[in-house]
């Protein structure tokens, strides 16, 4: 456990416990407490990472492995956007307002735990906490879709937890320890590796299921589509990335220390990554629901991260981490905008929308920016992360993978074109006639995230320096 970051775990947890008591009679206090907690945490983190002296020093002063700090910041950023959005989005009378904020804060605490921990058992515990909170959050609005999504989520992620548990047990038996460091030491030694590789494979499989990689992707579209609107942004933006993808990246970097003896496993991970890119993008072409299309797009983008993680070279890890952050920014924007659309136009069915650009200009243009970044159009941030991943693939001699990964960007762009024609630009629909732009506070998170997307794209040299520090610290 990275003790320097422990406060970022404990404070939201404390607030989560506090909220039901404080806000019992005045529900609005729950909004304020949740937002203030997260904002304070985020400001603190930004101060840690973006002080002028730290930037001037090439980020060498960042404590820990730098990755934890970056991901905690991403968790807080997405969490803040979601809570701020929820504060204005939720209907006044929703009975479980306090529970909602408590759950969000608990899940943020759990995610902080996941990314700061140093051993597999703690990782497992926090991931279970995360699963339970997400499960409850999906059903926030008590709709049938929410319950269905939650049940699907349950049935697919709990077997994954079982696999991880078995893998951890085998680790315990053969290594006697569960910390990442001891695993690393063991892997670089010449001791028999059969059980450890098997255990790694089981854990990897579990995390791949949790990250919704093809062929284990069946639960994601239903869970994202069915869940309460801001919750889907929370889930797609950060929760599945931390509970699945982050762990895959972490494990893949450890596998590198096997020095080629777990080659088959790495290759399998890469193959599933490419398959996800392809299947997710092609499936997204055929969707008629805005949220489902975004969910499939999410599967496709996770594919890039998993592909890079499986490769595991320093450059690939840099690309994976960068893409993880980018994915958090653009998916949060898009899911929050889908929630705005739902609120303003009453539907997210793309066949019923159309010509929303005049009714909702801010929502339209923030969505366009986020989607262009998803498709990797320069100079937005998504372009640089994809470029790093493709360069890493090419550098390792995997030219076919590189070219395929690159050319699937055109499919990404194609479903984006379909979506914008049906929703934002294109002929005016009756829905566009009667709806109007949502209020400024609901737009603020999307605008903020778009600012981050543009800034990360234009300030690429600085961010590159940061992820380089990350790659050096976690690989060397």
């Amino acid at each position: 456990m990275d003790k320097g970051l422990l406060a970022y775990l404990l404070i939201p947890l404390f607030t989560a416990v506090l909220i039901p008591f404080i806000a019992r009679n005045r529900p609005r206090l729950a909004d304020i407490f949740a937002n203030v907690t997260l904002l304070a945490g985020l400001v603190n983190l930004l101060w840690l990472a973006l002080r002028p002296s730290v930037i001037a020093g090439g980020f060498a002063d960042i404590p820990g492995d730098a990755l934890s700090l970056l991901l905690v910041a991403a968790v807080y950023l997405v969490g803040l956007c979601v809570t701020f959005f929820s504060a204005y989005f939720m209907e006044e009378g929703l009975p479980n307002r306090q529970a909602y904020y408590s759950l969000i804060l608990t899940s943020i605490a759990a995610m902080t735990g996941v990314v700061t921990t140093g051993d597999f058992f703690t990782l497992y515990v926090f991931i279970e906490v995360l699963a339970v909170t997400s499960f409850a959050l999906i059903t926030t609005d008590d709709s049938a879709g929410g319950i269905e999504g939650a049940i699907k989520y349950f049935f697919l992620t709990f077997p994954a937890s079982a696999l991880i548990m078995v893998g951890i047990a085998i680790f315990m038996i053969s290594l006697g320890s569960l910390s990442f460091d001891s695993l690393r030491v063991y892997m670089s030694s010449d001791m028999p590796d059969g059980p450890v590789v098997f255990a790694s494979a089981l854990i990897m499989l579990g995390f791949l299921i949790k990250s919704g990689v093809v062929p284990f992707h069946a639960w994601t579209p239903d869970a994202y589509q069915g869940s309460y609107a801001p919750v889907s942004a929370h889930l797609a933006g950060i929760v599945t990335k931390i509970s699945g993808v982050y762990a895959v990246v972490k494990l893949a970097t450890l596998l590198r220390f096997f020095d080629g003896r777990a080659q088959a496993l790495s290759e399998l991970v890469m193959f599933l990554g490419l398959l996800s890119i392809a299947v997710g993008a092609i499936a997204a072409l055929r969707q008629t629901s805005f949220k489902r299309m975004l969910a499939f797009s999410s599967i496709s983008q996770v594919g890039y991260i998993v592909l890079a993680a499986g490769l595991g070279t320093p450059l690939a890890i840099m690309g994976a981490v960068f893409h993880l952050i980018n994915h958090a920014t653009f998916k949060t924007t898009l899911f929050l905008n889908s929630a705005s659309l739902e609120k303003a136009a009453g539907t997210t069915d793309m066949d019923k929308l159309g010509g929303m650009e005049h009714a909702m200009p801010w929502t339209s243009w923030t969505s366009v920016i986020a989607l262009l970044s998803t498709a990797g159009v320069p100079p937005l941030s998504g372009f640089w992360s994809k470029l790093l991943i493709i360069l890493a693939l090419w550098e390792s001699g995997l030219k076919t993978y590189a070219v395929l990964a690159l050319l699937f960007s055109i499919v990404t762009l194609a479903y984006f074109m379909i979506m914008q024609r049906k929703v934002f630009f294109g002929r005016k629909s009756p829905a566009a006639e009667r709806s109007s732009e949502v209020s400024a506070p609901l737009l603020a998170p999307a605008v903020l995230m778009c600012g981050v997307i543009v800034a990360l794209g234009l300030l690429f040299p600085y961010f590159y320096q940061y992820v380089k520090v990350v790659a050096e610290r976690i690989i060397l």
């Binding site: 010509g355 090419w394 960007s409 024609r421 320096q465």
Partner: protein, 479 residues
């Protein structure tokens, strides 16, 4: 920073960032927004043109912004980039002035002005970039701007055509990125200045060529350009004359003309592709009945002539191709703007429903005729000299089949433009009520372009001396 470097940076930065201020200017008032957009266009032109003196004197200006892994943003003003930037910015500025009236009664005007200026800015970035990766970055930005502009009208058909435009060009751009990555790993750098004179592998050149052909609408990627004619005439004029298709030609000149020594087989393949493109599109222009589609096919065909000059590997032809870029920009810009006046006042794009318009639109008709003569290559128009130089250069070391293809193409150019002019302006009026002439700024814009085309023919000494100097200084592997 020296003045030339400041001019170089502002020529790129002012339109790129200024484009995002146009929506804010629109909040103030409509005239402020329009004036601001035109000023941005004019400023860009003057900034680019102010560099002409520097590069004619044999100097260059460079500005670098460090990026990791050799991805530095390098803006480099040399003879080729300044030439291209001045031509594009000039035509774009004229188009912006013409737009003031033309676009004034449509929706989405703010987006239109923002995108035209962004387009111009990305074009400036593209031509001044001396780093292949940044050429790609600006390349994609132009793709985005063209997507919004082609989709200016919002019917299903328009939006579908806009989507086709961006999907074809982005597909090409991604292929080009593959080629760029190959160059990156072969040579370890993307800086065009240090790549000067090095060899390029056939595969990498092929991938880059796909990107170039898709952007310049050459066979087999030509279909999006006529389809993009659904956009307002100012937009098509911009795409054809000033920016979009010229990007492909410029990239070819920059990458294969003055940087890499392309393999022999590659250049001759390009010649055959261009020849086929010239013939097929000229044939299409002969039979189509939509005024804008005919002119669009004509562009596809004329672009092939530029490729002939660039890929012949001959100094005369290369200089001729550069002149061709200039002449074609002026003349084609004029033709489309004339088409805009005709279309707006007759409310049709079908040439069979026009006829006899010369009496009611004399100035437009005269401008149209002058521009057509320049495109055909009739002396003493500028277009004659460029076409002549390209042919005489290509004849010195080109193959006979290629030359024959282009000769037939040139004759067909004559035919379809005469047919077009006859159908619109001469002959019997066909079911229209003698439409009015366009507004003063619109007619003045087209007449200015037509007269400049004529003047360039009379003063051909100066541009041709420039093109020759450029070819001698920068050309790689030319005879």
């Amino acid at each position: 920073m020296d003045l030339p470097i400041q001019m170089l940076v502002t020529a790129v930065a002012v339109p790129v960032f200024g484009a995002f201020l146009i929506p804010i200017a629109a909040r103030v008032s409509v005239p402020v927004r329009n004036a601001f957009a035109v000023l941005l266009g004019l400023f860009t032109f003057f900034a680019a043109a102010s560099l002409l003196k520097l590069v004619i004197g044999g100097q260059t200006a460079t500005w670098t912004l460090a990026f990791p892994r050799g991805f530095d943003l390098i803006l480099h003003a040399d003879m080729l980039s300044v030439f291209m930037a001045s031509v594009s910015a000039f035509v774009s500025a004229i188009i912006l002035i013409y737009s003031l009236d033309y676009i004034s009664h449509y929706e989405n005007q703010t987006e239109y002005y923002a995108m035209v200026v962004l387009f111009l800015g990305s074009m400036m970035g593209l031509v001044f970039s001396a780093n292949l990766l940044w050429m790609y970055v600006f390349w994609e930005m132009t793709g985005f701007a063209s997507w919004r502009l082609v989709g200016f009208f919002r019917s299903d058909k328009d939006v579908a055509k806009a989507n086709k435009t961006i999907l074809v060009t982005v597909f090409g751009a991604l292929c080009m990125l593959v080629g760029i990555i190959m160059v990156y790993f072969d040579h370890g750098t993307l800086d065009l200045r240090s790549l000067h004179g090095s060899a390029i592998s056939m595969v990498a050149a092929g991938f880059i060529l796909v990107g170039i052909l898709s952007k310049s609408a050459t066979l087999p990627f030509s279909t999006w350009l006529p389809d993009a004619g659904v956009a307002p005439s100012t937009v098509t004029s911009l795409l054809h004359a000033a920016v979009l298709v010229k990007i492909g030609v410029y990239a070819y000149a920059r990458i294969f003309g003055v940087t890499f020594a392309a393999p022999e087989a590659f250049s001759s393949a390009v010649l055959y592709i261009a020849g086929a493109s010239a013939l097929v599109s000229a044939g299409a222009a002969l039979i189509d009945t939509d005024i804008k589609r005919i002119i669009a096919y004509s562009t596809v065909s004329q672009i092939a002539f530029i490729f002939l000059g660039l890929a012949s590997g001959n100094k005369t032809a290369f200089a001729g191709a550069l002149l061709y870029i200039l002449m074609h920009s002026i003349a084609k810009g004029g033709l489309f703007l004339c088409a805009g006046i005709i279309e707006q006042n007759t409310h049709t794009k079908d040439i069979n429903k026009m006829g006899g318009l010369f009496s009611s639109m004399p100035v437009t008709g005269a401008a149209f005729a002058l521009c057509s003569l320049s495109v055909m290559g009739i002396p003493p128009f500028g277009g004659f000299f460029s076409k002549f130089l390209v042919f005489s250069g290509a004849a010195q070391n080109g193959s006979l089949p290629v030359l024959l293809m282009f000769l037939v193409g040139a004759v067909m150019t004559l035919l379809y433009l005469v047919r077009l002019f006859y159908k619109i302006f001469l002959g019997e009026p066909a079911g229209h009520s003698s439409p009015k002439e366009g507004s003063v700024t619109m007619v003045a814009s087209v007449m200015a372009l037509a007269l400049i085309g004529l003047a360039l023919g009379a003063l051909i000494y100066y541009p041709s001396a420039y093109a020759e100097l450029l070819t001698n200084n920068l050309g790689v592997n030319l005879q």
